[in-house]
């Protein structure tokens, strides 16, 4: 896996996948739909898969002494690294955002708090669950797979941004320490869902890819 990850970052990774990881800085923009930050990260992953297809990465890997399902595994691990890195990098910007806007009040939707990170993990889970198996059904249909994934991801974004507009869910926008503590169970649940889903997503995608003739 070490050699495969080295290959992934050295040959396959599109530079924008790394650049988008730093889009957490957008949490400093006042009144902005912050979940879009995570959408950009999925775009970076899409670029990487497109780059892999154009460079015939799966063909290259099929000549190496690795199992076919390892090609899927390295993609899943790569996605997880990029997604989790984007969340970690966003943390200091979220803290700074809370300090700059102590009253919160993002007019668009979610504020930069623990609930936003839970939404990010949920969004990534949905994206991975649709995109990875869809891509490895063929091994080359990147655009269609992304389109299939983007539709539910957009719905999750709309839902998450709409929730704090309901009076009963105003606490989701709380950026105070107490508010973040109250939101922590949401973040923990999202993290569990994300971590538990990744192996299942990988297995499903690998099952499809095993049947693909290159």
């Amino acid at each position: 896996m070490k050699a495969l990850l080295y290959k992934q970052f050295c040959l396959a990774c599109h530079p924008m996948a790394v650049v988008f990881c730093f889009f957490g800085v957008m949490l400093l923009i006042p009144n902005y739909p912050y979940t879009v930050v995570f959408f950009y990260v999925t775009l970076g992953i899409f670029f990487t898969f497109m780059n892999q297809r154009e460079q015939r990465d799966l063909f290259y890997m099929s000549l190496l002494p690795v199992r076919k399902r390892d090609a899927v595994k390295v993609s899943a691990v790569f996605m997880a690294i990029i997604e989790l890195a984007s969340l970690v990098i966003a943390v200091p910007f979220a803290m700074l955002s809370a300090r700059l806007n102590p009253l919160g009040g993002n007019a668009v939707g979610l504020d930069a708090n623990a609930a936003l990170f839970a939404a990010g993990l949920l969004l990534y889970t949905v994206f991975n669950a649709v995109f990875l198996p869809a891509f490895y059904r063929s091994g080359y249909k990147v655009g269609v797979s992304y389109l299939k994934a983007v539709i539910p991801v957009t719905l999750v974004i709309l839902l998450c941004e709409a929730l704090p507009h309901f009076p009963a869910l105003l606490w989701l926008n709380d950026t105070s320490t107490e508010g973040n503590v109250r939101q922590l169970p949401l973040l923990a649940a999202a993290l569990v869902i994300y971590a538990a889903s990744m192996p299942l997503i990988y297995r499903r995608a690998a099952k499809y890819y095993e049947k693909v003739d290159l």
């Binding site: 050295c10 099929s62 002494p65 199992r67």
Partner: protein, 245 residues
Amino acid sequence: MDILRVEGLTKCYPSFTLDHVSFAVPQGAVMGFIGRNGAGKSTTLKSILGMVHPDEGHVFFQERDTADDERYMKENIGVVPGGMTFYPKKKLRTVTEVTRRFYPNWDEAKYQHYCKVFLLDEEKRVDQLSDGMRVKYLIALALSHGATLLIMDEPTSGLDPVSRDELTGLFRSIVADGTRSILFSTHITSDLEKCASHIAFIKEGALLYSGTVEDFRHAFADRGNTMEDIIVSVERRDWNEGTII
């Protein structure tokens, strides 16, 4: 001893069937896998490499079934695909740096030696190499990790006669000590005359012949004197007056 044994390889597509292909590559042999375009050469090689799933059949590398131990075969073979088309915009140095990590037997001194003798500039991008140099680069990679079998898909296609002659000479040198073997597909009969010790001849998905070049000439003596005459005679399809309407 056979380094590679293919038994009853079958793959059905809607418009083409690879039909129970069986042959063996002896150790130290250069086996030319010949047939016209669309005969099933690439499908057979891809099935051997696990890139295509055969409906039936087995592939044995050093008597180990590759279905059970594909990794062992891939660690011990070198593959030269038809035109090296992966990562064309990367430098050779980068591709090598990544590739070598997959082979526990990688020998850097050997690799540097082959770069020198094949005049490979590691600072060049893959797409800056000529077709012949790309084949040499992949051969350098294969020999540097101690491959005992080189599988090449039309390595001489599109090359000028001088480069083809140079490569066929290289193939002979690779197997000279008897420890390595080569299986290469081609539709250029003159390449076979120059370097092949064995032939597998495929037509419309079915293997017509597999054995030594000498036996091949005897078996098809009534079809012509040269290899080209024999293959053209077997493959030729005459057009009739109804062809063009």
